[in-house]
Symmetry: C2
Subunit: 463 residues, 2 copies
């Protein structure tokens, strides 16, 4: 993309309403624009990151054997009356009346609707196990929306639902989701720690939240530092293997890690003092096992292998897709702007032309741009007639992980400069070497957790 | 995908409420499930087609130089009061009150919101031309929703908006969109004829609708048969070239083609009788040039090259993404089910195992499946223990364009059968030749308009 043809409305001033870094930086870098309280438009740069996060969530869900579909945003109140949640849900539920005076609502979650789909179509244990999920806009009418997309009213969420014949099957689904979520966050370059949590309005006996450590987090968290050393890395996981998934869950839940809601001071005190940590965390996902809480009242039963009708065991699993964009920035920024991990960056690299209008420099930039595109990469080329300082400031603000700087002096020596946004380190390389290095950084075999497309590259089209 | 692990709830009976083929077939093939009147869940198979249609729309928009972003579903009523449309819009607008008693609405379209974004950030003619678009869920509270996703209440639409310094620039945007839309439909294997139309509540002086010929269409259409012979084929279009785009528009608008709203009986009578056609059509898109209708009342002005403040010239352009799925079926089905064009099929081909449980047949199917996946294709493998007739009926119903049939008799001769859904013709091939043939059908260089991924295959992730 050439910046002269793009729509990137960066702001010089820090907007007064933004209290936290991600909100401030998303507004300043032209990623979002508030439309009403807690409701945002995703401007082109923000939309690219949102889609990238969405794509990783889809890929990892599909890898774990979960099936994508899509439920609507508006739901009939009748379904929620069946589960008893229509009246139980407070004023955060946005209630709507249509022209025929029917009670509707803007879905904050989809347990009722998916249970209704299941009971309409599935009758036999032979069709289990089954996990369906979707990524759709949700609404929670927060009384005081704040922190930008971190606590917005209209938000984009992945929510998935497993249906299993018994408790053991559903607990495997729980474990499989935990492993799949760990993998999802790792690919985004994010450390999200699973912590035992309260189940809240979803209900159920087993639940973990995933928290990203950040000073601006809404929860107080207590953990054993040992947990922050764990990585899935390039382990190949067989998601059908119950003991393999259970072993990974055991590895991640053995070290103490809890939010203030479930904190156990005595257990915490038993951690060696050097590893005891107290911090703040941002919730970016949650998984639940709630058994027959919805299947029983809603009649979602199947015939088991003895010919008996039994209610299915269910769980649900959510990842806040739009919220993750904010959490990623909270965990990855400095005083100059955002620092995108490679897995979620909106463009693979930037190209800064230090002397726009100079024939040789322009030609070198053009060639660099075209070579990168031919390699399947998407550079953002700052081809505006601006001074170098302004171009660098924009690149630092929007946070592309790699920047190629092209100027007459370097070109005279046959070199361009490649700079890492995170470390600030630069090296002078021939254009060919610079392209090769950037391509290598994003190659499938490199940095597996950050950047691992499915074997099937056409997958995204076919989702 | 293995069917034994998929969620494909096909129905044996034809649902009583479905009056037209697409509604009936989408319900029967397990693509959708109604959630409330005019509101549908997209079950896994339907979701794949919806995403495929969405991907083609995105690719062709980006090819034409338009910039993707995303606006929210809920809008503030205040913006619509500025344009005067809040009161003008009838009961089809779903009005919502939030917990603070603020008037909101579920957006049926986004002229006001995009104009607000534009005026907040763009001040100079130097930042023009600019075309922004998004694909988002919309709501129109139809009094009598019917025909499934063809006339639903919650629907998925691409809507784009161009901003130009003058009328000439905006007319080029209009032409560019027409060419881009023609290309979009052609890639889906759909013939959509541009017809001069009425502007309706969007307003404006210039507008064309795109209509797919089908008996179940809501509009009566009159056209010169010559227009149905036109194809873009593999023409390389430079979307920045005003005269090139204008020439294509001239080519497609010279033959008479109008809906009943703008029909001119005298002009129609001048067409040679053999080419005069009267039919019905389904509207799948519309483009508008409306000048300063929104920019003037809403103050969307830029400074021109003389330093004067002038209102920008705008147009808007819509494609009904969810509606297209229905229109595609109306135009592509027979008495046994859907016949997907290759460009939008949910799976590239089906594999039918005629003797599930037979070691040799199972192994041959497995190998075929894995080889296709390695080639980047997505087969749907019917590995259920069902009789052959039921498997064929399912494949015919869901309409995958190509079917591979594997049975002991064929294997004894070293052959599998490849069947074309549209023609019904079969040929016996070695498994290797069958895979090669299917791969060739979906190769980028083949059938350009149906199946032409961008040069950059990672594009979808990075959108």
């Amino acid at each position: 993309m050439r910046l002269s043809r793009y729509f990137l409305p960066v702001l010089k001033e820090t907007p007064a309403e933004a209290q936290i870094a991600s909100h401030r930086l998303m507004l300043r870098s032209g990623m979002i624009k508030q439309s009403s309280a807690g409701i945002y438009s995703w401007l082109p740069l923000g939309f690219r990151v949102l889609r990238r996060v969405e794509a990783i969530v889809h890929e990892e869900q599909i890898r774990a054997g979960h099936i994508p579909m899509l439920m609507p945003t508006l739901q009939s109140a009748d379904l929620w009356r069946e589960s008893g949640r229509y009246d139980a849900y407070g004023p955060e539920m946005l209630r709507v009346r249509d022209r025929h005076d029917r009670d509707m609502l803007y879905g904050p979650t989809n347990e009722e609707m998916i249970t209704d789909i299941f009971r309409s179509h599935v009758n036999s244990y032979k069709d289990l196990p089954l996990t369906l999920y979707h990524i759709q806009w949700k609404f929670r009418d927060e009384i005081r929306p704040r922190f930008g997309v971190m606590r917005g009213r209209e938000f984009y969420m992945k929510d998935g639902y497993n249906f299993d014949i018994d408790r053991d099957g559903a607990l495997h689904a729980y474990n499989r989701h935990m492993v799949s979520y760990l993998r999802t966050y790792e690919r985004m370059g994010l450390q999200a720690i699973p912590m035992r949590a309260d189940s809240g309005p979803i209900g159920g006996e087993d639940t973990h939240e995933f928290l990203v450590l950040a000073d601006t987090g809404e929860s107080e968290v207590f953990y054993d530092a040992a947990i922050t050393e764990l990585r899935l890395g390039d382990r190949q996981v067989n998601f059908d293997d119950r003991s393999e998934c259970a072993a990974i869950v055991e590895e991640w839940t053995a070290p103490y890690a809890r939010t203030d809601e479930t904190h156990d001071a005595e257990a915490f005190a038993r951690i060696p003092e050097a590893r005891r940590r107290k911090s703040r965390g941002i919730e970016v996902g949650q998984i639940f096992y709630f058994g027959t809480k919805y299947s029983e009242p809603m009649g979602a039963t199947v015939t088991n292998d003895k010919g008996e009708k039994v209610p299915v065991h269910m769980g649900s699993h959510g990842i806040g897709v739009s919220r993750l964009v904010g959490a990623l920035i909270e965990a990855n920024h400095d005083e100059n702007g955002i620092i995108w991990p490679e897995g979620v960056t909106p463009f693979h690299c930037g190209i800064v032309n230090l002397r726009q209008g100079d024939g040789e420099t322009d030609a070198a930039c053009e060639k660099l741009y075209k070579t990168l595109v031919q390699k399947g990469l998407e550079p953002l080329y700052d081809d505006r007639t601006e001074r170098a300082g302004a171009k660098f400031a924009t690149m630092d603000l929007i946070g592309l992980p790699w920047r190629l700087t092209v100027g007459p002096r370097g070109l005279a020596a046959g070199k361009v400069e490649l700079t890492c946004r995170r470390t600030g380190q630069s090296e002078d390389l021939t254009p060919a070497d610079a392209v090769a290095k950037v391509a290598e950084i994003y190659a499938p075999h490199h940095a597996a957790a950050h950047w691992e497309p499915m074997a099937n590259r056409s997958f995204h089209t076919w989702l």
